[in-house]
């Protein structure tokens, strides 16, 4: 009964406002109890529409449960709990309330049974997440949050125009499957894809997330992109375009993560990469693929949060974020290193971890549909993920050279949060039935067959081997300076370098052209509209009267001719 009366998203948002007012133990109690209560609520709620009404003559259903939304809502609630636990000792008084508003809005978007509610939650999510970035308090964070907000407002505008068009054409606000047959549906898809971090606007994610605080990024990694995956699953399953968009994201993430030096930016690129897998699965669109995408979103939230908690703990303890400044931390932070390692294994879909039981479904679906190129690309990408996130992150941060840093382990609450998610990563990898039971379709998929495990292990072992063979080159790309060294005159490294240089140059010239263009447009706009410009200055009375005369002449001309 209670489950029909209470809205999980609303409860989390209200808890967020309460957190802003509370202090000390009461604050901690609310932060931890609210997500757990909401989790119980979600699990107990019967499927179907719980809230409905009309607004502006439109049917709205702010609270509706089905298998898919329940799956996502469960993992969002778990994430809110672990994130809150991890962030309890965060000094910023704004971040946790903002994260709750953000998470609550994301839950609202999941449980929205109509497009209008979805849009409202979508915008609230953008505001909440901006505040999370902003609460890091630094000026780069502020600027990044403004860029982030601008992109998301643009995405919101696309979505709004699309929803308005859809409602105008059909008169229905129901959020069901949408075919790509009208401009309205294209706009809705574009709005969704902006939040998913799809090209050509992928860059907002690695630009903004790493500027958040050590705990803020843990929340950010979970909600925005996964809500986008959820709405794509609901609105556009089996849209072939998404296969290619997803594959692009997969490789975009890998290439940039390999070139990157900032540990949390590596993980940010890796979010794009992982969401790419899910988007590809949605594009394939069979029951197996959709199950895979949904399950992968579930497990990805947990292991990516675990990786970011581990990176966040390092940042918290050392105040350093570049791989080149870190290394050898396993000596004094063994638990953080262990948990980071478990997360790394999970993201690489090592057997007996959660990533294995989810991602293999997407590959299986590609294989079942005889999409050879997709299957090959996914297999190659799996190896690429192991390179950049599975080995690169833990290796350079916790092992490699001794950086001389001897930081302590983080406080108890952060350690507990990491242990919880590490346990979930392993637990879901072994006892996967509860997760499979939550999936929208029953496919009877069995992850642990001989061929699955062997293929996966082969892939991972060979890419692991490749990592250590190519280690000298990888290490060199980590430096910021690009000195010409005798070492680089050898052919293979030169090629790598040429590629990276070309990529970088392309990125820079694109960026510069964009900047230059923007600057010129801005200058021209300012020249016309600035304080003393043509449109803004006080005109003489004669000038104003002249306009009236001209307009009258114009009208007379038009109506007479």
């Amino acid at each position: 009964m209670a489950s029909a009366l209470l809205h999980p998203g609303l409860l989390i948002v209200i808890a967020g406002f309460a957190l802003a007012l509370l202090r000390g133990r009461a604050r901690a109690a609310v932060a931890l109890a609210a997500p757990l209560a909401v989790l119980a609520l979600i699990l107990a709620a019967p499927a179907g529409i719980a809230w409905s009404g009309t607004w502006l003559g439109l049917e709205i259903r702010p609270l509706a449960y089905d298998a898919l939304s329940r799956l996502f809502a469960v993992v969002f609630a778990i994430m809110m709990f672990a994130g809150a636990l991890f962030a309890l000792n965060q000094q910023s008084r704004l971040e946790l309330p903002a994260a709750f508003v953000y998470g609550g809005a994301a839950l609202g978007a999941l449980l929205a049974g109509d497009l209008v509610t979805l849009f409202v939650c979508w915008e609230l999510m953008a505001v909440g997440s901006t505040l999370v970035i902003w609460s890091a308090g630094s000026s780069p964070a502020y600027r990044a949050s403004m860029r982030y907000l601008a992109i998301h407002l643009l995405g919101g505008v696309l979505l709004f125009a699309g929803i308005a068009g859809h409602v105008a054409a059909t008169g229905s606000t129901e959020f069901g499957r949408l075919a790509l047959d009208t401009p309205a549906h294209w706009l809705i898809l574009a709005g969704f894809l902006v939040n998913a971090g799809a090209p050509p606007l992928s860059a907002w994610l690695p630009d903004a997330y790493p500027e958040a605080s050590w705990s803020g990024m843990v929340f950010l990694s979970a909600f925005t992109t996964k809500t986008a995956v959820y709405v794509l699953l609901r609105g556009f399953p089996g849209t072939e375009l998404l296969v290619w968009v997803g594959l692009f994201m997969v490789f975009y993430g890998i290439v940039y993560a390999l070139l990157e030096n900032d540990m949390r930016r590596i993980l940010a690129y890796s979010i794009v990469n992982q969401v790419g897998f899910m988007v590809t699965g949605i594009g394939i669109g069979t029951e197996m693929a959709l199950n895979g995408a949904a399950a992968h979103a579930f497990t990805h939230i947990i292991y990516k949060a675990l990786l970011l908690m581990s990176a966040g703990s390092v940042l918290y303890a050392t105040q350093k974020r570049k791989c080149t400044d870190l290394g050898g931390l396993f000596r004094t932070m063994p638990l953080t290193a262990l948990c980071g390692g478990i997360g790394a294994l999970a993201i690489s879909s090592f057997p007996l971890t959660s990533g294995f039981v989810s991602k293999s479904m997407i590959s299986q679906a590609a294989g079942d549909e005889h999409l050879l190129w997709v299957w090959l690309a996914l297999a190659a990408a799996t190896a690429g993920v192991f390179l950049h996130a599975g080995i690169k992150f833990p290796w350079f941060v916790f092992f490699q050279k001794d950086s001389g840093l001897r930081p302590e382990e983080p406080p108890l609450n952060m350690r507990l949060a990491m242990l919880l998610f590490a346990a979930l990563c392993i637990g879901l990898g072994i006892f996967y039935e509860p997760l499979y039971a939550l999936l929208p379709f029953g496919t009877g998929y069995v992850p642990y067959t001989g061929s699955h495990v062997v293929v996966q292990l082969e892939l991972l072992l060979f890419s692991g081997l490749a990592f250590f063979v190519m280690l000298p080159m990888l290490r060199r790309t980590l430096t910021i300076t690009l000195d010409v060294d005798w070492f680089y005159r050898r052919l293979a490294p030169l090629l790598v370098r040429a590629c990276s240089l070309a990529l970088r140059a392309m990125g820079e010239s694109l960026g510069m052209a964009k900047d230059g263009g923007m600057r010129r447009i801005k200058a021209a706009t300012h020249a016309l509209h600035g304080p003393q410009a043509l449109f803004a200055r006080t005109w003489t009375t004669g000038g104003m009267a002249l306009w009236a005369a001209l307009l009258l002449a114009g009208y007379l001309l038009v109506v007479y001719v």
């Binding site: 105008a168 401009p183 016309l528 005109w539 009258l552």
Partner: protein, 493 residues
Amino acid sequence: MIAEHLPALQVVVPLAAAPLIVLLRQPGVAWALAVAASVFAFGASLVLAAEVARVGVISYAMGNWPPPWGIEYRVDALSAFMLVLVSAIGALVAPYALRSVAAELPREQHYLFYAVFCLCLAGLLGMTITGDAFNVFVFMEIASLSMYVLIALGRDRRALLASYQYLLLGTIGATFYVIGVGLLYLVTGTLNIADMAERLAQVGGTRPVLAALAFITVGLSLKLALFPLHLWLPNAYAYAPSAATALLAATATKVSVYVLLRFYFTVFGAGLVVRTLPVPEILIGLSIAAIVTASLVALWQADFKRLLAYSSVAQVGYITLGIGLASADGLTAAVVHLFNHGITKGALFMLVGGIALRAGGVNFARLQGLGRAMPVTCLGVTLAGLSLIGVPGTAGFISKWYLVLGALEAGHWWLAGLVVLTSLIAVAYVWRFVEAAYLSAPAPGAARIAEAPLPMLAVSWVLVAACIWFGFDTSFTVEGARRAAALMLGGAP
């Protein structure tokens, strides 16, 4: 007995209050009279609106001379809706004015302010309620002349120039209007609007009628500040006393839009204006120019009040855009936005008046860090700012929604996109306030600034609450606008 004469009393009470105030002169009494008159007008408008919802159209013959010979007061779905808006703003600005006027004007001018305030209200209500084209002109002049005085009462010496420019341009506008009405009188031999409409339908689009259309369009475009005839507006709003700005911004241009709607859809008829002439295209073009340029100009203003004035020009653009679409949804959007923008801008200018009173001005340099010193005021500005942007859950969203639907219905995808994209510029200029008030270090001396006086805050917050309320409960606004739109389009042959 009284109820029967309510249409006349609606205008006569504030009109009679003005000379009474001049005779009594005592500031306190003047204020009390102004409040009483405007509250009465509000009550009368509510009764009339309820009556119209019941019986359809109320026709009142002035001095028992039956129309079309005598002057007819005519209340229908559209004018009842407008009367509620204008008188509601009047009834809120009058109590607000007490502290604001006391601070901004020398004591010997107080009674003048209240007298002119009542005249202005009477003029605006008269323009709305009358069913006679020439009577509209008379009330337009009453309203305009009193507005010139209200603006000229501003403390800033630039107020005089602003008032003078408005006087010249307003007079040109009124002259154009009366020339247009004169041409129509020549063709039809009547001044009663309903009668004129009937006779024009027989005449069709002859040359004098087309000329009349052009003159009336341009004359009213001046009055309602349609781009590029908006140039008088920013200075007039910026330098007038705070209470005067709140009244003008929320009602004056809106009533001119109402008269334009009346002429387009009742007198000339949608058949002539929309289907045979390219008037909608011109209107849409100018509206887009208004929305884009005025929003961009607002972005770079150094003075918050002036920023809001330019934003008004842009918002008028959204209203005329809805008129230009000339469909049920477009007209609904236009009428709803008349109301929603009226309450939003009313709230903003009232709150800004409070800031001007306490901080000594609303230049962005003075707004720095004001979020701490005046939290209630700044929260109100932010909420009303959200409504100005059109965030879901505020009144502004409702109008944007119908405007987008109207654009889509007409098949103008790009127009729908433009409407939502330009709201991003509004995000940027509202953000400037948020940034200054909440994110900047307080200016020296800001700590001594107190919250605005309670009566001013209270009435401002009534409007802020209305901005939120009408974002959820649309039974009055949208239903009223729908009936008005149906009335206008139903009048088409």
